[in-house]
């Protein structure tokens, strides 16, 4: 035992020095942001049968999210300065990917889907390794950062009518709409994101933003807010809040929107799709659109959510 006493002494000295040293170092460390505050108002989320609780996501948010979004959810994590596009500022409660009309809060399901899907053209990973409960808890936690969630209810999801068949006529009409609605000004005539206005675009925080390049990439997972035709429909009907991409819900009718979806798919020249198959069968060229006099206008209100609005 006598031979071990120096060990105890040494251990005590080393432990003390470490405690003092690390503690003081912690105080002098570069500011990487405070710990996330305990939310004053606990929030819940409801996704299907899942109920998320904000208090249960505090640790996960800090582990996985705070490096970019910041401990205060303000988008100012220590990595934010290196990222483009910038991380979402949750204190503004402005979200790009929604099923709800522009200006309204997204549904819990929208946020849940965004976490699990990730954003392919940003640094936001695909967090599909989380359990459903983890994601539901994180949705609730995100809602603690803005008082809007306490004052407002989420908007109602828009209704998406059944997709009509893909025809060369619908593609042709979609192209005409692409021109008429001046989508080309940002996205470019071939959808390469090189329209005449592209270089001037900024987001709601005055940060430069690039329009989507449809022609790049081989698969459709690159769409920010989903990969299906329904997702594309939803993107331009609800708009991408916080960016120059407006909502076209008040501008075009559902069948027109579907035609636009079919045309946009043909801009994805490297992707195999039914739209590209139809285009190929038609000789690879989109014929000029000829407006039919007999077309009956669709009731635009069907496209809107019940009780929805800005």
């Amino acid at each position: 035992m006598n031979t071990l006493k120096p060990v105890h002494f040494l251990t005590a000295i080393v432990s003390f020095v470490l405690a003092v040293g690390i503690s003081s170092r912690a105080q002098d460390a570069p500011d990487v942001g405070p710990h996330p505050p305990t939310p004053e108002v606990p929030m819940e989320s409801h996704i299907g049968k899942l109920t998320g609780h904000s208090k249960d996501a505090k640790s996960d948010f800090r582990r996985y999210c705070a490096g970019c979004h910041g401990d205060l959810g303000d988008g100012n994590g220590e990595n934010a300065m290196w990222l483009d596009p910038k991380p979402r500022n949750f204190t503004l409660a402005t979200f790009k990917c929604r099923s709800t009309l522009t200006g309204t809060l997204p549904t819990d399901q929208d946020l849940f889907n965004s976490i699990g899907r990730g954003f392919s053209n940003s640094n936001m990973p695909i967090w599909n390794t989380f359990s459903g409960q983890q994601k539901a808890d994180l949705v609730a936690y995100i809602k603690t950062f803005s008082p809007r969630w306490q004052k407002e209810k989420a908007g109602d999801p828009i209704k998406i009518p059944a997709e009509p068949p893909v025809t060369i006529e619908s593609i042709s009409h979609g192209k005409a709409l692409f021109t008429k609605l001046e989508c080309w000004k940002c996205h470019g005539p071939q959808g390469k994101g090189d329209g005449p206005s592209a270089a001037t675009l900024t987001d709601s925080q005055d940060l430069p933003i690039r329009p989507y390049n449809f022609a790049d990439g081989k698969d459709d997972s690159r769409f920010k807010c989903g990969s299906t035709n329904q997702d594309i429909y939803k993107i331009f009907m609800t708009g991408v809040d916080g960016t120059p991409m407006p909502s076209f819900n008040d501008t075009i009718q559902p069948n027109d929107a579907w035609d636009l979806v079919h045309f946009l798919r043909t801009l994805q020249v490297n992707r195999h799709s039914k739209e590209n198959d139809v285009l190929k069968a038609a000789g690879g060229k989109i014929p000029p659109y000829v407006e039919k006099q007999s077309e009956a206008p669709t009731n635009q209100s069907e496209n809107r959510a019940a009780g929805g609005g800005n």
Partner: protein, 487 residues
Amino acid sequence: MRMGTQSYARRKLPCVRPFVTITLVVVFLILSSSQNANALPAFARKYGLRCSACHESWPMLNYFGQKFKDNGYQLMNDRDSPIWQNPGYWPVTFRIIPIWHRVSKGKVEVDTYPGGGSTTPNGTAIQRVTTSGFDLSGLDFHTGGTLEKNFSFYVLPSSDNTASFHFETVMARLDNLFGSPWLNIKLGKFELDNLLSEKRILTLTGNGGIYQLYHFTPVGDGNIFGQMGANQLGAEIMGHSYNDRTRYSAALLSSTNGNVALPYGNAYTGFFAASQAFDVGKLGVDRIGAYAMIGQAPTYYLTQTASGVTSPLAGSGASNKSFHREGFVGQFYFGQHFDLQVVTQHGWDNAWFGQGYGDLINGAATNNNVPGTSLPTGSQAPTWNGVLFEPHYIYSPQLIFVGRYENIQMSRQANGRTSATPSASNFGNISTYTVGFRYNPFMTSRAGFAWHNEYNWLHQDGTGPLVGLNTTNINTSEVLMGFDFDF
């Protein structure tokens, strides 16, 4: 690894108690001033994620980190290709650990008087040898990432603590072949697909810094080729579902235990693993899986005689014999703070290995199975069963407490009852436990630092020196404190 009895160990434990007490006090002191934990900073720098995003506590991966690795070190977004990186980005991370440790080995046979035992009738004695002091770990240079989208690589020159280098890992990987995550091919020297990775172990002591289960061979066994914990040379096909819930791998390996230049023969080993994860609600995502390592290795080598010295000829190995290990793996999570990792193993070596045939080149084996050799009477294929439990308590992403218990028991000895020298049924059994914690005083995506504290105790039956007519058990213990950092 070779010392003392259990009662001896119990007498020693109180000596460690003050260390544990002081350590706990220090932990609370630190927690009171806690700031914000950390990984391979080269990856973190590339993607801008905190180390904690991929690591339960670095270097151990969490589920997201495992998916990142399975995707070929890609997040599967459009930032994976190096063209997105700043030209100044260089994907290199180094890791080294200055440590203080105290190693106590029981039952070391020493001369009664220094200089030789000839001065007394009984010239040797058995005693415990304890050494303590400041030391270094080896140095690792990790470099990995993508050469292009879906072309990934990893190179790891690694040294021991005298700066003698070797290649621990060198591999290139083709990811997502035919656009499917179910087909990825890797070629080179790489870690086997162990869900509980020894290369990402959270403990550092000599016996606690490895998984005994991954390296176990019966005492006197000449088969070094079945070590699941060692990086091996070969090719691997691996696949997984989009969210990595389901994953499989199959690897064909040269039976060289990772040694380059084909030092043995033409034998091969296969390693197979599969697992499935389950969403278990509030508990998290749990995973269960199974693995099998099935191979052959040489027991006979041609020899060369030069200057009167006869040596086995490298690369001439033949007379291959079989071995296999198989078991189950479980990763069970209980909320955000506690998890339990479990690995089981059943092992079997051919009776020739059990008699010490096998790796004659690097000296592990003692016999050469030249034509005409026969096994001694009573020889039988040794078998064993083992289990590993590793619980983690994650106080926060910055502080993790680690425990481990391993128990390996021989179920059949190489020298059976009819042998001239039969082995006791527990000969070579191992039990070991490890406790420790790692504290990360800061948490960023640029570098990693962990204050590491650990205690390990290992007991092995019957491998000590003879006392009278009986073999003895050996206890070894180690206390270690270090600053584990990487940049």
